[in-house]
Symmetry: C2
Subunit: 503 residues, 2 copies
């Protein structure tokens, strides 16, 4: 590396180190805001966070920094493998925010923050009108940012998708979701007609929060979550926050009449957290730990939630512990009944409570609405109705409140284009699980409690290059094949065909 390159790299590195101190604080503030902060404190926290985020933004928007970063990009061939990823990422980000001034960025973050607070309050009151105005503003600034980006995409929505899953397009998603509908809708009809009786009465038995806390810790320990480098706490809408290299947090929500909700949300967020905890430390050192896309991330979270958590082997493994911690629930319910109950296909209103089979429809609904919002400019005030119509169309259920309908998810307060990554995650993991099967009998690993082996395989194959490859390269690198929903749909057909005796 020549002297000039070295100098520019040092400038970039030092600046990012400083910017990260601001972002670190923003992370902690955001986490606090969503977990502990009292209601009336939320807005001020958002303002502080916007101020600090803007300080970081100013650093990476300085002429000196941009010049150095662009120099790295031009000379990326001479950089090491991590720094060249950083150079590409900084260039991409620079192209994206080139025309966005710090002042605009600050305005935008205040709008997102206000939208988040309004969403919280709206959901609490189950009243969309509290959120409506903010949501309209979010759409406005999302469109504004896309316009300023001047990227060349087929549609505006494609540009938004790119923020969450680089290279993803409406074309791919239309085809993917089209195949899903073709294969899953007829099966859903068969399942609905099936005579299979699945017991669920015990699933709503009252379980004190304290017992659920114990279960959450047990599950996280089981899947190899490191509590010295992470924590778990409660929130309204569960999420994972990778605050820092040694600070990866899981959040969950405990419902006394739905113990399984927190069990599976803990496995889901725990999966996200394992991805964070097993990201190579060298990625943090080179500031590329955040390159992984959301589709990659959701592939891991949903791997732990569903492919592990809702498998027969896992339920058999944890059944005795469940019986010990929740004696009221399992006094007269067998492991087999528990397995069936957590896999019952039940078209319902809440995405995060959805069964594995109907889940994709929750995403398709949101995907179709997002396209309408962004590409077709539907009226924001029509969303509660449009939402309800879509649920009726695909799942035959209709929300009777905003809280169980359009207000259930936080995501839109932060923008559009996130949801498809959940479905992509399911499809990615179905592909790499088939790869894992070439080496291991996964059910045997689960039955034996060998989550360390699973975690090692994931680290080596799934996590290791996630920050360095584009999603489509990454899945091909792991599996040797191009992205396809086929593995996932095969899996769903086989699993639910067996449960409902349809095969």
């Amino acid at each position: 590396m020549d002297k000039e390159l070295k100098k520019n790299l040092a400038l970039v590195t030092d600046t990012l180190k400083e910017a990260n101190l601001y972002y670190h604080a923003c992370h902690v503030l955001g986490y606090d805001q969503q977990t502990i902060a009292p209601k009336k404190a939320r807005e001020a926290q958002g303002e502080t966070s916007a101020f600090l985020g803007n300080k970081g933004f100013q650093l990476v928007k300085s002429k000196k920094f941009i010049k150095a970063a662009e120099y790295l990009y031009e000379n990326r061939a001479d950089l090491g493998k991590y720094d060249s990823v950083l150079a590409k990422s900084l260039h991409r980000e620079y192209q994206r925010v080139k025309r966005i001034t710090p002042k605009m960025q600050h305005e935008f973050s205040l709008i997102y923050n206000k939208a988040f607070v309004d969403w919280l309050n709206a959901k609490e009151a189950s009243d969309f009108s509290i959120f409506e105005k903010s949501l309209g503003k979010v759409r406005e600034i999302e469109l504004k940012q896309i316009a300023l980006e001047k990227v060349h995409r087929n549609t505006t929505y494609d540009a938004l998708l790119d923020h969450y899953e680089r290279g993803m397009t409406e074309n791919i998603l239309d085809e993917t979701f089209g195949t899903c509908k073709e294969r899953l809708l007829p099966l859903l009809e068969k399942i609905k007609k099936s005579k299979k009786q699945i017991r669920r009465d015990f699933m709503s038995r009252t379980v004190p929060e304290e017992a659920q806390r114990r279960m959450a810790k047990y599950l996280l320990n089981l899947i190899c979550f490191d509590f010295e480098r992470g924590a778990i706490t409660t929130t309204e809408h569960p999420f994972m926050d990778d605050i820092a290299v040694d600070d990866i947090r899981v959040t969950t929500h405990y419902y006394e009449d739905n113990f399984a909700s927190s069990m599976f949300s803990v496995l889901h967020e725990g999966g996200h957290a394992l991805f964070g905890q097993n990201t190579p430390r060298v990625h943090y050192k080179h500031f590329i730990e955040g390159e992984k896309t959301l589709g990659m991330h959701e592939s891991v979270s949903r791997f732990y939630e569903n492919r592990i958590g809702r498998s027969k082997a896992f339920i058999d493994l944890v059944y005795d512990k469940c019986k010990e911690i929740f004696p009221e629930v399992f006094a007269d319910a067998s492991a087999e009944e528990f397995y069936e109950a957590v896999n019952v296909v039940n078209p319902s209103l809440i995405r995060i409570e959805a069964d594995e089979f109907t889940y994709t429809f929750h995403i398709i609904i949101r995907y179709e609405l997002e396209k309408m919002i962004i590409n077709e400019g539907v009226k924001i005030s029509d969303l509660p109705r449009l939402w309800a119509d879509k649920y009726e169309e695909y799942l035959g259920v209709r929300p009777d409140s905003d809280k169980t309908g359009v207000l259930q998810d936080v995501h839109w307060s932060g923008g559009f284009g996130y949801f498809p990554t959940y479905a992509l995650g399911n499809m990615y993991n179905a592909m790499y699980i088939n790869k894992m099967k070439e080496k291991y009998d996964i059910n045997k690993l689960i039955s034996g409690g060998n989550f360390d082996i699973i975690s090692d395989w994931m680290t080596k194959h799934v996590y290791k290059k996630a920050d360095r490859l584009e999603p489509q390269e990454w899945i091909r690198d792991i599996t040797g094949r191009a992205f396809t929903p086929k593995d996932y749909l095969d899996y769903l057909e086989e699993k639910f065909g067996a449960i409902y005796g349809l095969s």
Copy 2:
């Protein structure tokens, strides 16, 4: 107000507003660090906090700011009553840190932060040697700061006291604690010899954390804590954090075999929190909400913890609720027995678990050690032994571990001179309670659950001027009398004389 003054005031106000954004983030980071952050994340959090705190410090250390602030001070006679307090405070602070550069300040905060983390780890491991080096450094920088302050005090320790309780001196404390020893030590001997039997077996019965959480919320609601502007969470060492005007937090620790510990810590921190929540909003607007001293603060926390919480009227009031939430505990224990149990005089090792009577000795011990540390330069490595000797001397007990001895309290990781404020708090509240009694029968208010009336009286008499007056002016303003430990000692003699049948 003339144009020049107005201009300078605006500059000061705008700068403080910006600095407060940094401090707000530091507060949240510090809170997080002490409550949820995983072990390995603590140090990085401290570094971020030190960085941001330093940004705030730089703002108030800028020549422009100092010039404007000094202008306000010189012209304080023309300022409104709040702004003149601010001008005096800024001048005092300026005098204090005049010779401390931002670089030094940053070094200092890293040392305090490291000491805090080392203390946490040392306490966990019950090993003073982990903390020793850091504590030595804390002493070093405390002495360095005092030297740089160049204030004229009789002793170095007086200068430290001044940080926590302005105007307080060794002379006053020596006399005050001398009186305490004179009056309390003979009584302690009598109590020790008393034949009074107090039942305590039920106090260590196992109570699940969940039930204690319910109790904590009940107590905070009872004393009029506002949950929309505050929160409660768990920590190792309970504290209150007034993060922002609408964000006042209480923390506590739940021990399954000591339910009373969290009850009284909640009342204590709840008292602090009420002081914060009832501080006039206008004080925040004028940046003087932090002028109140720790002695004032402790007077309120210990008012709620002891004068209310450990009174017969209060125990009678909450007894039924206790029986409902902790049925295992109170199945065979009466309200009378509960009252006596929470007031048993039992010379013991842990300050925050101490009874009201022996509490002052825990403070005297720390006070005498602090003077030795600061004025006499004792060897840090001798502290565990010196600590144990003092406990043996005054209370006849000797810690068998660092955890139950010298490591029990967090305070020294942040410097010296804090502890006396706890004792002063007891003496202040004894004085103003006698004032309150001129208007109300306090026991009647407590029995009737009229905590709103108590809170209103406190707001009007105790909180309202706390940010505007020096401690000695403040107590005289409330009571019409000069500071004296007499009211407190009279109270202790009467209460414990009655309990132990000595009167």
